[in-house]
Amino acid sequence: MPSFVRHMLLIVAPLMAAFAILPGVYDNHLLLFNFVIFLILAQGVNIIYGFTGYLPFGYVGFFGAGAYGFAIMVMHLQAPAPLAVLAAGVVGVLLGLLLTPLLRLSGAYFAIANLAAALAVLHFVANPALESITKGPYGVALNGTFNPTLAYIGAVIILALTLGFVVFLRNSSFGMALQAVREDAVSAAMAGVNVVKMRVIAWLVSALVAGLAGGVFAWYVSVFYPDNVFSSDFSIFAIVFALFGGVATIMGPIVGVIILYGIYNLIGFTTPQYFQLIYGVLIMALVLFLPAGLVSLATRRGWNVP
């Protein structure tokens, strides 16, 4: 069986089945929805960081832009929610295109410039002068499209597509070429890889994923402020979850989100007073002992982790 099909059947299909069944047995649907959102975002970070080495500290910029893309489509064009979600993805891609010059930077410079870009987008959206378009800092209320069930289904579909793309990256020459660029761009170019094109594609797909996630998030929550959808917590969580599991794999970000976001909520529900202590110790332990993420426990033993 080709590894692409095997990965789709053994990883993506069971995960989709789980998220299809879980709302029937667990009432806190918003928690499940947030799991799906963070799985999408962690995989989005995986695409850009895991496969190209660009750490997007301002990844939330695409997410927030997508949320406002959704809101503008609904408020001004009375677009149906699914169409508005697609538009949110387009907004993410357009912003990605606008920020493409950032790819000339690398390492910490790229990370900081990306963070600054996200803040710039936040202040642009929250500018009172744009109140007639974005509602500025005064918040958006999209009561007409509010439908948590459909929004949840939309999020699961986006997750499936995102995972499908990551499976493709893991099993295609395109993904291999990206990793070659990440390891040594000059050598990859010498071997005939179009470095700029590769990076831009990965960057735009990553932006598309976050834009779609932002759109579906706006659909679900329906009342939000710029601070809600441009919160740096989204970037931080997505990056930490992806790193915790291990990037450049399909399973790493999934494991990272399930374990770390699971623990996050477990602590939040049971012992919130120890929250920062437990979470901090956990992340420090990871950085000190498993810098390549949890999957490195398996890869060190020579096991192949998809």
């Binding site: 928690l31 202040h123 929250a126 800092p137 948590p148 009342v223 939040g268 920062q276």
Partner: protein
């Protein structure tokens, strides 16, 4: 025949009462679950913790008395406070709000403080048909005629908050010589909405007042030097600065550093977080600054709950370490609690729409240490308005409040222009 009928009726009534009482007692829950969130860390911790502490103080006080009176069961029932820490994270807050409703099955659903952390609760409450006791989420977008599942407890809705400033400027201002007004605001919901409302109130008043400077700046702004010079160039008689506490601190420090003297200068937080501002700006820097007068300075007559002096005593006893500041937000949390207590004493069941009906029945009648509780038809708070005041120094060089407007609550005259 008649005697038989009366006897039968009497017996029936007695039996009915005998049966009815145990039914009521059996149905009564062992506790009333009150679910809420607080932020112990992050951007909103400083406003959330005092509000939560006020609510917690009330829960402990009532439970020590055997619980709150619940009319639906005609008895006192203890309150169980189910509170989670959202750490100022809105995604976490969403999950936890949902947890309160779907897993903990709370009877009373209370939001965290501030509009940003209240926003997720508005949608969730509506989705689950739970009535939201909105503590201090003043965002105008929360309140609409088609959403019956929300009411604002402790702060006036942002759209009417600056009414006393606008009324003072348009009614008393011209006689004092105030004709040119500058508005500087931070571009967030809380202060941006107030700026919008202030502008509208001034324009609608048709008074001889001209807005000569009107500028929004990012909430993260910490240096106002250039902006101050721009404002000075516009030659305003009054400068209204609407920002959060860190904005006010930076702004007032810059005013001192640059050495500009405005005839009238208004800032929000010298009134709401006086201790913090005095610590960072100094008493001298706050002298003659116009601000909102918090309920802790007004001693409103109450018809329910503790008055401000008793509440302060109870607060000092419970939070003797002084780690949580007593002020505007501390009063807000306790005010929410009082509205809840009164609601339970009026509502005939714990059905969410009945709770709403009971809350609305209090409008205009409930007078707490925060002023008169009054709601508009959408659930927005239109009572509990904070009067306009001015900070002066007492004989010992400490800050004191002088209420200026409305006249019926005024304790002094404005010092204008600033000497």
């Amino acid at each position: 025949m008649l005697r038989k009928a009366i006897t039968a009726f009497g017996l029936g009534a007695v039996m009915g009462m005998a049966l009815a009482s145990p039914v009521l007692a059996a149905d009564a829950p062992a506790e009333i679950k009150l679910g809420t969130l607080y932020a112990s860390s992050g951007r909103y911790a400083s406003i959330s913790m005092p509000v939560h502490a006020g609510l917690k103080l009330w829960v402990e006080q009532k439970n020590a008395e055997g619980g709150v009176y619940v009319k639906a069961f005609d008895k006192k029932i203890p309150i169980k406070l189910v509170a989670y820490d959202d750490q100022s994270n809105t995604a976490t807050a969403s999950t936890l709000y949902n947890q309160l409703i779907t897993q903990d099955k709370v009877d009373l659903f209370v939001a965290d403080s501030g509009s940003v952390l209240t926003a997720p609760a508005v949608t969730i409450a509506r989705d689950h048909k739970m009535f939201l006791f909105d503590q201090t989420g003043t965002g105008g977008s929360f309140f609409s005629k088609d959403n019956p599942y929300i009411a604002l407890m402790s702060d006036p809705v942002s759209t009417i908050w600056p009414k006393p400033i606008a009324d003072f400027l348009t009614k008393d201002g011209p006689a004092l010589g105030i004709k040119r007004v500058a508005i500087l605001y931070s571009t967030n919901e809380f202060t941006g909405t107030q700026a919008n409302s202030l502008r509208k109130f001034i324009k609608d008043a048709n008074a001889p007042i001209e807005i000569v400077y009107d500028q929004g700046v990012p909430t993260e702004t910490t240096n106002y030097t250039v902006i101050l010079n721009n404002i000075r160039a516009a030659k305003p008689d009054a400068v209204i600065h609407l920002g959060y506490a860190p904005n006010d601190i930076a702004f007032l420090r810059n005013v001192q550093d640059v050495g500009i003297k405005f005839n009238m200068l208004f800032c929000i937080y010298p009134g709401l977080e006086t201790e913090l501002l005095e610590k960072n700006v100094g008493a001298k820097g706050l002298q003659h600054v116009f601000t909102y007068v918090p309920p802790s300075e007004m001693a409103y007559p109450v018809n329910f709950g503790m008055n401000i002096a008793d509440y302060k005593k109870a607060w000092d006893k419970k939070y003797a370490d002084g780690k949580i500041e007593f002020g505007f937000n501390a009063v807000a949390g306790y005010t929410t609690a009082l509205v809840i207590e009164k609601t339970l004493s009026v509502a005939t069941s714990l059905d969410q729409m009945e709770l709403r009906k009971a809350v609305f029945s209090l409008s205009g009648n409930l007078k707490t240490l925060d002023g008169t509780f009054a709601l508009d038809e959408t659930g927005g708070q239109i009572g509990e308005l904070t009067p306009l005041g001015q900070l002066e120094l007492n004989d010992h060089g400490h800050i004191k409040f002088v209420a200026i407007y409305p006249h019926e609550v005024a304790t002094g005259k404005p010092v204008y222009p600033k000497p």
